[in-house]
């Protein structure tokens, strides 16, 4: 699909909008739901009519629409978690329209943003509104998990069932057996390719700047494409439209601040900045600590252009810099430097064409770049991924029971990896175009027992190879009782980018070509959810996911790469990804249980997952299926936050205690199998010990267990709040195994295990004003 084609479709959508808007009978009530405190639009807020079985959820822009409302005087009730319900009388004539913007105030109780009052919208209704396998997190939820040095979004998500990290040293997420490259990371709608700082220790998302997080662990709708496993959609704060507001925090790792302010009377502005500082403190005093730092920040402006038009402009950027100098002697020093950065920009325009017709148009850009250079110029590397994406989505509420969404997406991708070393050169580049066109029908018959969504996505990829696919998606929800429901979802997904994972330097992305085509996955999910004591929830989900044509990095690629041409010195120039990956297939199956309590003195969740993932690749394990390193049979997570003042004295605020317990079956690893003695060449004067692994990931490490604790104290002043905290990562100082070392000394075997992080206490201070 060409740019012209997509623009034609966008134009057609706009024309259709005008036509569609004239349709539909009955009156319409529509508007936006906002926070009264800061003017932020509230996403997924519930709006219902007292005494009439009609309700709606606000969309990603906070817009809601109640269609086919009988004429008369109605009482609208809006609810949102952590906010007081608001009730507003509205009168609407037959066939008419009433525009109502609803403003909800946060709970007056200190630190109780998560509290849900008895008269709030029932948990069951909120559960029913949520798509299967979807998790919504607010900054409060993220901070509920005792962090490692710094509150981190990805590490918090790893405390949910079905999501595991690979080790303490990585925040990359493995969602339901999928690998991190199969996750689509969005920040204000722009894709982030390598969302990790510090070699994966922390994510690029500053939790203080986050307004809302939505993670789909699978079965996502036709509006999302390009990835096989999950979608993480992060929305940064729009900004406070009422007053100046700020947060400043210092931890042992970083200092950061997020500021928000009104932009005139019709908009808001927010910005954040975070920087690590140990390079300026202990790094200056110790030569043993590499010179490393990262910073990131965002700026976002939100403007009401009119009652029906809103514009958001956002920018996000982050950069990591590492300089390593080897321990030099009298001679000049050697070392290497590596720097990598993410930048995204997004412009999003929303328009209410008619009360029932809502359009979202976005232009986003994303750039990831990394540079590596060994001193004296013997090795230089550059890795760049950029994309520019144009998106349009039209939402039309034909009736209370039927919503239609259509949209299109055009992405221009540029991926380049170049490496210049003494004996050759790598220069792999491609500039493919990826286009998507999708339609969704959401049918919710009155009575609210059923909710069915069917979608179809057409994806087209044109680069070094041309591909196109039709991807059907389907989701069904059925309410068993007032408090319980079942949900099912299935879908077909394609991915056109592949990744070479690396431990120190940033991962390398490659695009589909003649050597690696599109990867494919099919999801089957069934779930049961019920309200638990009105304010809690129980979720049980089972999933099965099949992967086809997935690609695993070929660790012995040196034997397979081919030179495309040669330079004037007859050095090879490698210009393709031939031999870089093993093609294969696989499947993941699992069963997850989540008990979650969001209110009261004790809040948190307990999650358990039983899962199994198997991959099979030509060229690995003799082609036999094996469990990948991220496969865990059982994982148990228990996250608790206790308001000690409330628990002990019945009051609220003051001391908070947090705990996070993780138990998981040990990771599969490959035993060397056997050792042998050999010399490299006839000129080698000695024989050395080498290993000959034959069975991949045939054994498992011991179980992983970790307990993290945190203690926070809050003190409120007239216009500001102070929160010093103490956190202990791995409080039991358990020596969890990372991998196993094998060696021989004087022919005697030496087998030792290398552990992950020991007990690590950290502290910090957070100030809100």
């Amino acid at each position: 699909m060409s740019i012209k084609g997509v623009l034609s479709i966008l134009a057609a959508l706009l024309i259709c909008c005008r036509g569609l808007g004239a349709e539909g009978g009955g009156a319409t009530i529509s508007g936006f739901v906002y926070s009264r405190d800061d003017g932020e639009a509230l996403i997924r807020a519930s709006v219902s009519m007292r005494g009439f079985p009609l309700g709606a959820m606000s969309n990603d822009s906070g817009y809601f629409v109640l269609a086919d409302v009988p004429a008369g005087r109605w009482s609208l009730v809006a609810s949102f978690i952590g906010f007081e319900d608001v009730e507003q009388i509205v009168e609407v004539a037959a066939g008419g329209h009433a525009r109502v913007d609803l403003f909800l105030a946060t709970k007056a109780l200190q630190g109780e943003e998560m509290l849900v009052r008895e008269d709030s919208l029932r948990m069951a209704d909120r559960l029913f509104a949520r798509t299967i396998s979807t998790v919504h997190l607010s900054p409060r939820h993220i901070e509920q998990v005792p962090p490692f040095a710094e509150a981190d979004l990805l590490r918090s998500l790893a405390a949910l069932p079905g999501i595991v990290p690979l080790s303490d040293f990585s925040s990359a997420l493995y969602v339901r057996g999928g690998t991190p490259d199969q996750n689509l990371y969005l920040i204000d709608g722009a894709e982030v390719y390598n969302p990790e700082h510090a070699f994966g220790l922390f994510s690029t998302f500053n939790t203080d700047a986050i307004k809302r997080v939505e993670l789909s662990k699978g079965g996502f709708g036709a509006e999302m494409g390009g990835r096989l496993s999950s979608v993480l959609d992060v929305v940064n704060v729009d900004g406070n439209r009422e007053r100046f507001q700020g947060v400043a925090a210092i931890s042992l790792l970083s200092v950061k601040s997020t500021l928000q302010a009104p932009l005139g009377t019709r908009g808001s502005l927010s910005g954040s900045l975070r920087r690590t500082y140990f390079d300026q403190t202990i790094g200056r005093r110790s030569d043993d600590i590499p010179d490393y730092y990262f910073y990131d920040g965002h700026v976002k402006a939100f403007v009401d252009l009119g009652d029906a038009d809103k514009l958001m402009l956002g920018f996000f950027g982050g950069r990591d810099v590492l300089d390593v100098t080897f321990d030099g002697g009298a001679r000049d020093e050697s070392g290497f430097g590596v720097a990598w950065q993410n930048q995204t920009a997004s412009a999003r325009y929303v328009r209410v064409f008619t009360p029932r017709l809502f359009g979202t148009f976005a232009l986003t850009a994303s750039r990831f770049a990394s540079d590596f250079a060994f001193s004296e110029g013997s090795l230089e590397e550059r890795n760049v991924v950029t994309d520019a994406t144009l998106k349009a989505q039209i939402q039309y509420d034909r009736s209370p029971a039927l919503r239609v969404e259509v949209g299109s997406e055009l992405k221009r991708l540029q991926a380049r990896f170049s490496q210049d070393f003494l004996s050759g050169e790598i220069d792999v580049r491609d500039n493919p175009t990826q286009a998507g066109l999708y339609g969704l029908l959401n049918w919710r018959p009155l009575g609210g027992v059923w909710d069915a969504q069917g979608g179809l996505r057409y994806s087209r990829y044109r680069g070094a190879t041309s591909l196109h696919h039709i991807e059907p998606r389907m989701a069904l929800k059925y309410r068993l009782t007032a408090a319980s429901m079942v949900k099912v979802a299935t879908g077909l997904y394609h991915q056109y980018v592949h990744r070479v994972p690396r431990f120190v330097a940033a991962d390398i992305w490659t695009t589909a070509n003649a050597h690696q085509g599109a990867s494919r996955a099919v999801h089957y999910i069934v779930g049961y959810q019920r309200e638990w004591h009105r304010l809690g929830q129980i979720e049980v989900e089972a999933f099965h996911k099949r992967y086809y044509d997935i690609y695993q990095f070929n660790r012995t690629f040196l034997t397979d790469v081919q030179a495309a041409k040669f330079d004037q010195r007859d050095r090879p120039i490698i210009a393709s990804t031939q031999g870089l990956f093993h093609p294969g297939s696989g499947h993941s199956s699992g069963f997850e249980v989540l008990l979650r309590k969001e209110a009261g003195a004790l809040s948190g969740w307990v999650g358990y997952s039983l899962a199994r993932t198997r991959y099979a690749f030509a060229g690995i394990n003799g082609g036999r299926a094996f469990s990948p390193r991220h496969d865990r049979t059982s994982t148990l997570n228990a996250v608790a936050r206790i308001d000690l003042s409330k628990a002990l004295r019945g009051g609220s605020g003051g001391w908070y205690f947090g705990a996070n317990l993780v138990y998981s079956t040990g990771q599969p690893i490959t035993e060397p199998g056997s050792a042998y003695l050999a010399s490299i060449a006839p000129s080698d004067p000695q024989v050395s010990v080498f290993y000959a692994p034959t069975r991949i990931n045939g054994v498992r490490l011991p179980a992983y267990v970790r307990l993290d604790l945190s203690l926070e104290w809050r003190r409120d002043f007239a216009s500001w709040r102070m929160m010093p905290y103490l956190q202990v990562f791995n409080a039991g100082n358990r020596r969890n195994a990372w991998f196993v070392e094998y060696d021989f000394a004087n022919s005697q075997p030496e087998v030792g295990q290398v552990g992950m992080f020991p007990l690590l206490p950290t502290c910090g201070l957070r100030v809100e004003f």
Binding site: S378, T556, P572
Partner: protein, 300 residues
């Protein structure tokens, strides 16, 4: 309820302590014949080492490394003649090599040879075999940018200057291994003023073998005859004095071994397979190469 809560807290506390102990299961162990054989034209079949592999949690008993009943045959595929190899006895197991003593077997560039080995290991009869085609003639070290130079001199841009060997390629080899062996390996001629690490004389004396042999390669050179350059990297030089530099124009079997045999460990500690071009129950290499050498000197 209170007791249950206390019990739960105790369990949580205890569960988060201690150590998960890994023990080697040896379930991945499979007996293998280890073959190290590199045929070189002009040199008779003189140094094929055939041993067995060992478990990773057991002491290496060198006396048991060579199976007692090894049968090894080399076949010249140009005429189909097969030659039985004989084990040469020696004090050190490293020196106990299989050889062919007759004069009717010549290793010729461009010709193919097959090795077939069988032996009993732990009660099982193992068989392994491989075929190598010797690279075609034409390879030689054509020249060196300089025969001697100080350690890590800098050029006009401030980059270190390396020894650079010009090689005339074998038309059929695309992989060239360079090995570097100092003639004198002592703590007295060790280069302490290197830019990587500060080592004391005492440290070096305990680790001389670690520095005494270095190797590097170039690969994916153009097909056909021509000239390529292979550099002796300054960071492979650890001693002042003379070096024997050998360059092997290797066949694909040997190249695969060199490229993968010691790269089986990933950055996160996990292992993966190497690529051995040996059929059956064998690991290691049976390959061929053309060899040339040059002497270089690192001056104080």
């Amino acid at each position: 309820m209170r007791y249950r809560a206390v019990a739960m807290l105790l369990w949580v506390g205890l569960a988060g302590c201690g150590e998960g102990r890994f023990s080697v299961s040896n379930t991945s162990y499979e007996p293998r014949l280890v073959i190290e054989g590199l045929l070189r034209p002009g040199i008779g079949v003189d140094g094929i080492r055939i041993t067995r592999n060992v478990r990773v949690d057991e002491r290496i008993r060198t006396d048991d490394l060579i199976p007692a009943d090894v049968q090894a045959h080399l076949t010249d595929r140009s005429n189909g003649r097969s030659f039985a190899l004989t084990l040469r006895d020696a004090d050190r197991v490293e020196d106990r090599l299989f050889y062919y003593s007759g004069s009717d077997l010549r290793i010729v560039p461009g010709a193919s040879y097959a090795l077939d080995v069988s032996a009993s290991v732990e009660g099982a009869l193992l068989r392994a075999g491989a075929v190598t085609t010797v690279p075609e003639d034409g390879f030689r070290i054509a020249g060196v940018n300089r025969q001697a130079m100080p350690y890590r001199p800098l050029d006009e841009r401030g980059d270190p200057l390396n020894f650079a060997l010009s090689i005339e390629r074998s038309p059929s080899s695309r992989f060239y291994l360079l090995t570097l062996r100092p003639r004198v390996v002592t703590s007295a001629n060790f280069i302490y003023e290197n830019s990587f690490t500060q080592q004391s004389r005492q440290d070096v004396e305990g680790r001389l073998d670690d520095f005494g042999f270095r190797w590097d390669w170039i690969q994916n050179t153009p097909r056909g005859a021509g000239v390529s350059t292979i550099e002796v990297m300054w960071f492979d030089l650890w001693f002042y004095g003379d070096y024997d530099v050998l360059v092997y124009a290797a066949d694909d079997n040997y190249a695969r071994f060199i490229q993968t045999h010691d790269q089986v460990r990933e950055a996160d500690g996990n292992f993966h397979e190497a690529e051995f071009a040996i059929e059956g129950d064998g690991i290691g290499y049976f390959g061929s190469a053309l060899v040339d050498s040059v002497r270089l000197q690192v001056q104080r």
